[in-house]
């Protein structure tokens, strides 16, 4: 690993100031991506800015009106253990327990998972499905970006020079809503998604009133498929509706072949994972 300087600012303005003065600096939260990338030479840094000392980035708050705020540096294990998240956002608690293993979850943050912008990122399809937004701070002030617009290419995101992710905001789900994320991995843990599907549905009187579906590892960025969710709205809750939505998700996917799976296999899995995730989400919605 090449030598770098390290600093841990205590406030957001300090961090932004450092980023403005040293645009090549790298932000460190959990480090489970960054340190691996620095060690392998895939990324370089002259300065590493540890953002974990900034209180706002460690916030994990729920307000029934404002929704859930996940500070950009909050590690997964805090989400998994959080009682409100377990009860109101069970899919999120699950995802946080599936990213890496126990030790990785002791460090890795959802914010980092988002900013790393891997096509296969586990948390992003679910965040998209939940209608989450990213709160960004920079020299020009603050702005909010929908999660589906955050990633721009493999490893690239919306953050402009001098900007950093402050938090992820997830709106409180409407009554009778349910969400789920499912991924396919050949092992049972410690694996990268071959395909992942994040879904969220709202049901009233046996009919879908809202639905959002997104996929991972099937495109250069996590893929929001509005048409798949739209196809559910107005439909009665029935296997045919789920299957139809899954088929739309599948046709939107444009996966590649690599060491984790062939394009044909990924394409096949899109429909399976989407349908299965919808089945779980429907059950949760009906229980809420």
């Amino acid at each position: 690993m090449k030598a770098f300087d390290y600093t841990a600012p205590a406030t957001l303005p300090e961090a932004v100031g450092l980023l403005v003065s040293q645009p090549s600096a790298r932000l460190l939260a959990g480090g489970t991506d960054l340190i691996v990338q620095l060690r392998s030479g895939r990324k370089e840094a002259d300065l590493v800015i540890d953002i974990k000392k900034i209180p706002e980035l460690n916030a994990l708050d729920f307000d029934p009106i404002a929704g859930l705020t996940i500070g950009a540096a909050v590690p997964c294990y805090r989400l998994t253990a959080h009682l409100v998240i377990q009860s109101h956002f069970p899919a999120l608690a699950e995802v946080a327990s599936w990213i890496g293993g126990t030790q990785i979850q002791g460090r890795a943050s959802i914010g980092g998972n988002l900013c790393n912008a891997a096509p296969s990122a586990d948390s992003i399809p679910l965040l998209i499905a939940l209608g989450a937004t990213a709160l960004i701070a920079g020299p020009g002030g603050r702005r909010t970006v929908a999660i589906e617009d955050f990633c721009t290419a493999p490893g690239r995101n919306q953050l402009a020079s001098g900007e950093l992710l402050v938090s992820i905001q997830i709106p409180t789900p409407a009554p009778h809503s349910g969400a789920a994320y499912l991924r396919f991995i050949p092992r049972n843990e410690m694996d990268i998604a071959v395909v992942g599907a994040g879904v969220a549905v709202t049901i009233a009187d046996g009919v879908f009133t809202a639905a959002r579906i997104a996929l991972s590892a099937v495109a250069p960025t996590p893929l929001f498929v509005p048409a798949a969710g739209a196809a559910l709205v107005g439909q009665p809750v029935a296997p045919a509706a789920l299957e139809a939505a899954a088929q739309i998700a599948q046709s939107a996917a444009a996966p590649i072949s690599d060491m984790r799976g062939t394009a044909a296999y990924r394409k096949h899995l899109c429909a399976v994972m989407t349908r299965r995730a919808l089945e779980i989400a429907v059950t949760r919605a009906q229980e809420n």
């Binding site: 030479g41 396919f184 092992r187 049972n188 843990e189 044909a264």
Partner: protein, 732 residues
């Protein structure tokens, strides 16, 4: 409970190195710290096949903090070529040197080209990045069939036939007549991917080249003496100029027999005048050490209506990697070794390809071959309507059976293992539901002998110190101490084992070939007998007796009796210390048969396999420490399941390994396996006083075919390539 004639054998004492290993005190190679020590790093080729046009290390050498840079040009002038014997496998000295540091050409992506020693590992890595190499890329060839095809790019000049380094042929009986007598003939072809042993501790070596000319090496090795001899050969030194201190070893499975770093660290030390430590990264381990061969295997078996195999034919092409030595020999020895067959033809091809030079991996070569034999027998059993274990039983090799490659078996436990499988609760339990399948398979490994030495010195408190040279990968300190304790009539805890350096014990072969508990065990047994003989003489002196008996830990003569401890306390007065020693080179290694029963469930929509239930059965001859015998069976089974389902070197067309991390290589995690039940069969080996058979290896042979057979029952289709991963299962 059966009555055992033994006091210590068959019990489960706490291992002697246990406290050190659960408290972090045990010192592995990377833990070594020496005064003035510096750190090495290796430059590796990004090309699978290329000519080195220019190699300039001047910028690296000039970096502050760098102490030495070496390339193949730093090897002493090439001596006459010779074979370097590693015990389990061997290599030409020229190949060994070429693999350690490339000269002229690089032959695989990951091939070591140069090395640097610097003040710390970070500076060493920076210096490596400053080494300039101009390559002329050459076409690469990555599989055995491609390398055997006419016009394939050639790796070496002067091999037997293009890229084929060796051709093996074993033939008995009349193959044509044998197949003519068959009513069912099945012929199939199988491909297996390159896989790695996956030991968790990366290779490491520290060397200090002293001003007196002696080289001291501390390393993680399965054999301190083979590491010594190979390092001496590469450096053109007499073996006595090299001393190897084996550190604790974090797994090997055959992969830590060869040397990679030791001569490089020594050369860097010679240049820098300091101790040099090199520790591989995980990617270095995957791309720069020896995995086990990928292979293409074609097998044809004929069976008559009585379920008797009438003829069997095998064609085995194994990928050696960059240098000859693909372990196709053991594949050819074992492909039909479980069965008594009169008409056999086996052909083997050792084929060089542009992949890392392969090494031993737990019964090396055997799983690739057994995959074919055992799945074809499964298919024949189904066609004949015979229970698959019954078909195996009708053909099982026994005492006197002649194997196609020559040897006649002494007593072996093939029948007993199959019978134990058949009688097991698992085999007789129903499958849990749809999409499930059960598979069975068996495998044979011949095990090896090789030299071992041991010394026992008696302490005045009635304990003994055991000095030995077999590096302990899985509890062998204890299985050896127990054999001494059994002979001496003392407790296992009363034996204090120490594994010492190559200056301090007689020659001892590798911890490999399932030989340690057998061969070093025999040395310890003989050393203990030597102690008994000397102690009897002391008792005779004390009692002025002619004859002294020793039984159950008691020396006696007429009315006189002394326990081992009582007599040990009187050695000072009867002539001084008693030290027993022995050096052996046994030929009586008894082969071991292993079997596996496995239940799987396949998700028909994703192709994902869940392992539901596993029972491993193996002939241990005599299980000295049953817990560590079970451990070998469970470990080999887990590795075999990983090999069968998900593990592989995923190479791109340019020969780069794309999944050289534990994240993407996909070894089984704790969540991927169920408990692994074990049934130890004990058919004593006539070549060992306690009947020991090595149990380290045979257990990895059955999983590949057992998984394949179970998958067939779950999905209704026979797969012909490994790994049998989800996409393969769905044919996508």
């Amino acid at each position: 409970m059966s009555v055992t004639p033994y006091n210590v054998l068959g019990t489960r004492p706490i291992r002697h190195d246990g406290a050190d290993k659960v408290t972090g005190r045990a010192l592995y190679g990377a833990d070594l710290q020496l005064a003035r020590m510096v750190h090495g790093a290796i430059l590796r080729s990004p090309h699978a096949h290329a000519r080195i046009l220019r190699l300039d290390t001047s910028k690296a050498a000039a970096l502050p903090g760098v102490f030495a840079v070496v390339t193949a040009a730093d090897f002493p002038p090439a001596a006459a070529d010779k074979i370097v014997d590693f015990g389990e496998g061997d290599m030409l000295l020229s190949s060994l040197r070429g693999n350690i540091l490339a000269s002229g050409k690089v032959l695989y992506s990951g091939h070591a080209v140069a090395a640097v020693a610097a003040v710390n590992a970070h500076v060493a890595a920076e210096a490596v990045a400053l080494i300039e190499v101009d390559y002329e890329p050459l076409p690469c060839v990555l599989t055995a069939p491609a390398a055997m095809a006419p016009g394939a790019p050639l790796l070496h000049e002067g091999l037997a036939n293009g890229n084929v380094a060796e051709y093996i042929r074993h033939e008995i009986g009349d193959l044509t007549a044998g197949f003519a007598a068959a009513t069912v003939i099945v012929e199939r072809e199988f491909d297996t991917a390159t896989v790695h042993q996956g030991y968790i501790e990366p290779q490491n070596a520290t060397a200090f080249w002293s001003s007196d000319g002696r080289v001291h090496i501390w390393c993680s090795t399965q054999g301190s003496f083979v590491a010594r001899d190979a390092t001496a050969a590469v450096l053109d030194l007499p073996v006595s100029q090299v001393k190897v201190t084996p550190m604790e070893i974090g797994g090997g499975f055959g992969g830590k027999i060869n040397v990679y770093l030791e001569p490089v660290a020594a050369l860097l030390s010679k240049k820098s005048g300091r101790p040099v430590k090199i520790v591989m990264s995980r990617r270095d381990v995957f791309t720069g050490t020896g995995p086990t061969p990928g292979s293409r295997v074609r097998v044809k078996i004929g069976v008559d209506t009585a379920g008797k195999i009438t003829a069997a034919q095998a064609w085995l092409a194994y990928e050696a990697g960059a240098y000859p030595g693909a372990m196709v020999g053991p594949g050819a020895m074992t492909v039909f070794a479980c069965y008594d067959i009169e008409n056999v033809l086996i052909e083997g091809f050792d084929v060089v390809v542009n992949k890392p030079s392969t090494a031993a991996y737990r019964a090396p070569g055997a799983p690739n071959a057994a995959l074919a034999t055992e799945t074809i027998l499964d298919e024949i059993a189904e066609k004949l309507g015979i229970d698959p274990l019954e078909l195996r039983l009708r053909n099982a090799a026994k005492e006197g059976t002649r194997r196609a490659d020559g040897p006649r078996y002494k007593r072996i436990g093939c029948v007993e293992v199959i019978e134990a499988m058949h009688a097991s609760a698992h085999y007789n339990a129903p499958l849990p539901g749809p999409h499930c399948g059960r598979g069975v398979a068996i495998g044979y490994w011949f095990n090896i002998g090789l030299p071992s030495s041991a010394t026992l010195s008696v302490n005045a408190d009635g304990t003994v110190n055991l000095i030995e040279g077999s590096t302990d990968i899985g509890g062998s300190r204890t299985s050896l101490s127990m054999q001494a304790a059994e002979v001496l009539g003392i407790r296992a805890e009363d034996v204090h084992p120490t594994i010492v350096d190559t200056d301090s014990v007689g020659y001892t072969g590798v911890t490999g070939g399932s030989r340690t508990t057998f061969a070093t065990g025999l040395a310890v047994y003989e050393a203990a007998q030597d102690v008994v003989t000397q102690m009897k003489a002391r008792a005779a002196t004390l009692w002025t007796a002619e004859e002294v008996d020793f039984s159950g830990g008691i020396f006696s003569s007429g009315p006189n009796t002394l326990t081992f401890a009582q007599l040990a306390a009187q050695l000072g007065a009867t002539g001084g210390p008693v030290v027993g020693s022995a050096a052996v080179n046994p030929r009586g290694a008894g082969g071991s048969v292993a079997g596996l029963i496995i239940d799987l469930k396949v998700d028909p929509e994703t192709g994902k396999t869940d392992v539901l239930r596993v029972t491993s059965v193996q002939d241990a001859g005599k299980a000295i420490h049953p817990a560590y015998v079970e451990g070998q069976m469970q470990g080999g089974t887990a590795q075999g399941i990983g090999w069968a389902l998900n593990e592989e070197y995923f190479m791109d067309a340019s020969g780069d390994m794309r999944n050289s991390s534990y994240l993407d290589y996909r070894m089984p995690t704790a969540l991927d396996l169920p408990m692994i039940d074990t049934i130890i069969v004990e058919v004593p080996n006539p070549g060992h006083p306690f009947g020991v058979r090595g149990v380290g290896e045979a257990n990895i042979i059955p999983p590949l075919p057992a998984v394949a057979n179970a998958l067939y029952r779950a999905i209704g289709r026979r797969l012909n390539s490994v790994p049998m991963n989800p996409a393969t299962i769905l044919n996508l």
